[in-house]
Amino acid sequence: MKNVWKIALAASLSAALFLTGCGGGGGSDEGSSGSADGDTIKIGVNYELSGATATYGSSSVEGIDLAIKQINEAGGVLGKQIELVEGDNKSEPAEATSLSTKLMTNDGVVAVLGPATTGNFKATIPVADKNQIPVISGSATADDVTVDLDDDGNPTEVKEFAFKICFSDSFQGITMANFASSNLGATKAVIIMDNSSDYAIGLAKNFRSTFESLGGEIVGEEAYIAGNTDFSGILTKIRSMDFDVIFLPGYYSEAGLIIKQARDLGITAPVLGADGFDSPTLLELAGASALNDVYYSNHYSSLDEDPAVIQFIEDFNAEYGKDPDAFNALGYDTAKFLCDAIERAGEADPIAIKDALASTESFAGVTGTFSIDENHNPVKSVVVIKLTDGEPSESIKI
């Protein structure tokens, strides 16, 4: 009996050694030749399918699946079918790194889509550089995802193999400040921000500087930490202040509670937020009656009257029996964006694909038409959605 265990142990150890040896040594050249000679083109899918941000990941993958299905039905790319290799990074950066290593070195993919969140996506970029295989995120909105920034936030060096197709946080902050000032005519604002998230801090910073440069005044600034549930202290304090709008950068789980508690205390001022508000849970937490005069910037609106968007909503409904949200749309665009680049590259070679991605001009997606700039960011418009009784009632393209 003992011998059996010994043999098993020895076998698994040597297998592990063999595999690591392969992964470490064969990196770049294996990746580039991996799938080009097959009948299919392999694309890696590295998303949050379980864990804290699973709703973002699984929504994105639904969009990707639909896009690839449509592309394959229309004959594939370069005459070949696309094969997705899907994996779950459990919403953890370490898992995201090891999964992308596996996809690039073992499965021979030509590009990897995802992860959806900034932290996890950043964790895969060194692996992408090492294996020289492009990675694309549909929803990592931090400013420094695809480019290194100096202390003042100016771009220094672009990350060669990293791309994103969503606008940056700074852009959302600037947009909402412009919106508050010109569309709502606000001159005094209060900021309540999630002090535990880079996302919210970045949004608040850009909102503040833009709003002040437009002649507005920030009359109060309060902070909370993700996971808090009692905001009555800060809201009671705010209630006695004189202001026109509340800017609330943060995620839906706290934003929903803050809006509810604010409305309960009789604060009726408009509430402004960003794409972190985009979740059905916001409505559940705040309740329909509290969600009036709430505005947030988003990547996509289901109220868009562009025929491509209407077609997408129809197709999505037929496939999944529900209306697509922003992450569905971003996932869909990410897959289409990559396939468009492979087509233009003329061959399923990661380096050629990377160059094609970088030179994308006016790609028409359901989240807007965009080109990729020198920092691998898209140049695209942002949508501001207005909620009335918890439902989107108006979308304003900016």
Binding site: D230, G233, G256, K260, D264
Partner: protein
Amino acid sequence: MDQLLQQLLNGLSLGSIYALIALGYTMVYGIIKLINFAHGDIYMLGAYIGFAAITFAHLSFIPALLISMAACAVLGMVIEKIAYKPLRHASRIAVLITAIGVSFFLEYTTMFFVGATPRAFPQVLGSQFFNIGNVVISMQQIYIIVVTVILMFMLQFIVHKTKTGKAMRAVSIDQDAAQLMGIKVDSTISFTFAIGSALAGAAGILVGIYYNTINPLMGMTPGIKAFVAAVFGGIGNIPGAMVGGVSIGMIETLVAGYGSSMYKDAVVYLILILVLLIKPSGLLGKNTREKV
């Protein structure tokens, strides 16, 4: 003035919740000298049981509250039987570590079954508001305060006027002597866990209704804050837990309202450190001399 009254009201609602949880800590500590770290998670389970009773069985507030309290009482007794009773004569650190283990077990088992995403709690109390001057009182706040006061009176009655209460007090003073007097120590301890857990269950469902959100890790921070409240009031002392809970709730709200919202948690833990340094027996705790 209006703002101060509003803040005090907010603090009282939050403090009532802390007080209900702190009572469980203090009672268990009083009787077997164990800091039951799993207590915050019983509060979380109380919220989920209430959620299930309201969503799936379509019950109204009072029946859901009673079911949640009863289920938590049973759960408290089961945890005591399985995890703590076999360690009755082990060192205190062993029991403490077991309590932390039970806490993680409850948190992550719940997460496995219900998922990690926060859920919105059904609104069974409606959303009525009463305006007194510029002070807004919500129906939920009235319920929280009224239910807390009723439960505290019931607890005082049980501890001071019933035979079981007498047994509890006797066991907390001297376990061996109580046993010699014919008191069933095991069932008395079990009963203490049941009452403490029932109060935590009540706090769970009240929090669900008040804040409208529950998640499997919701017991962590309030659990620790309630522990601070129990120490503040004097651990092992029932009126102390009530006073401590309400004080911590008030302090937290006032710091957020008049100081900076970033420091409210820091202030709470600073209080814990100060109490431990200056008056380790707490606000209402008696100074007991170590028996030699």
